[in-house]
Symmetry: C2
Subunit: 196 residues, 2 copies
DNA sequence: TTTTACCTAACGACCGGTCGGTAACCTCGG
DNA sequence: CCGAGGTTACCGACCGGTCGTTAGGTAAAA
């Protein structure tokens, strides 16, 4: 039951991704679902509510995905590698949603905006803790944690802007490239002790 | 003469940056200039023409700035360092314009869109040639040129999204952090010959 | 006299959102 | 097993408002 609510959400995701939130009208979304625009308001309180729901669910799924994948991984470098990999995978495999979540923040009113930003900050916090722990233990070179975390996250997030599923490289290949690039940057030229 | 045209452009830059292109109305821009909205159309053919002008001028200035700064720099690594530094400097010192140029592409019709994208591709090409030359000569580790160039550019471009002029770090400090981070990533763990 | 740089007023289109209505389905007392 | 009453999920029509844009006019400058 309420299958239509999912249909609406999916249509909205497709259209917000393709045309942007402001350029998409409620009647377009309704048209894509084969219903009248008034019927949208049975399922959602407003256009912004629809956007907020998409963003909120996406951020919740993203954070849960990362936490779940880090559960049984130990060692700073391994954890950071896994975190980057997860970040890339989620963003490329849920390209439309993550694109919307990171580019349509301006469509939200103040309270909704603050809620999404809080979720984003919490997610970023996981990376910042990893970086901080790594520098404390000498695995990573000393650095500015905030700047580096922004760098790492926006780097991978940006993938959702240009990624094409039918493109030259697989998600796994891209994730590996980013993983190595970032780990190198975090270590900053220090000479590696040879593995045993 | 035509001082008002500059006033309008600047007001549009401020408002597009603060609220976004779609959320900004012509009458708001006019209001910020102390004129009526119809008068905007004496200086610009349409709202999109205003956006396009901003983007076009910004991209032209960005490319010219980079070329000018690379003119007398030799050596792959030095050139790449300079290029990254320029990219960061320009994006943070012209934060509003570059933010608009990289986030409002959807406001353009097809032909205008293609023109701006062509300028962007040309700019990206400078970085891609640097990366390719670096890998050929063994200065950088072998890598996927396209992916790495996207990575480098979006990394720094993203600065325009969160940078606050009154913030903790200066533009120079941020540029240096990025410079080192990127060079490390491009060299990918290879052991540096000690400088003489 | 022509051009420049603005104005007032209005237009048509479209937008998000609301209203009253309704057909189909579910529930439950008799 | 029935049917009354409520609930679910939609529809068509409409509203107030805003938007980008245009038409026509005007006062000053060239």
């Amino acid at each position: 039951m309420a299958a239509m609510k999912n249909t609406i959400t999916q249509a909205a995701i497709d259209l917000f991704f393709k045309k942007g939130y402001y350029a998409t009208s409620i009647s377009e979304i309704a048209g894509a679902c084969g219903i009248q625009k008034a019927s949208i308001y049975y399922h959602f309180a407003s256009k912004e509510d629809l956007l907020f729901t998409i963003m909120h669910d996406t951020m919740a799924a993203l954070t849960a995905y990362l936490r779940r994948n880090l559960e049984r991984v130990s060692g700073i470098e391994k954890r950071m590698r896994r975190a980057v990999s997860c970040h890339v995978h989620f963003h490329l495999e849920h390209q439309k949603e993550t694109f919307i979540a990171s580019s349509e923040l301006r469509g939200l009113c103040r309270s909704n905006y603050l809620e999404i930003v809080a979720m984003r900050d919490q997610y970023e916090g996981i990376f910042q803790e990893l970086i901080a722990a790594g520098t404390r233990r000498g695995v990573f070179a000393p650095c500015d944690v905030k700047i580096l975390s922004y760098a790492i996250l926006t780097l991978c997030t940006a993938g959702a802007f240009w990624f094409k599923p039918e493109g030259r490289l697989t998600v796994d290949e891209i994730a590996t490239i980013y993983e190595n690039f970032i780990i190198s940057g975090l270590k900053q030229g220090r000479i590696e002790p040879l593995p045993a």
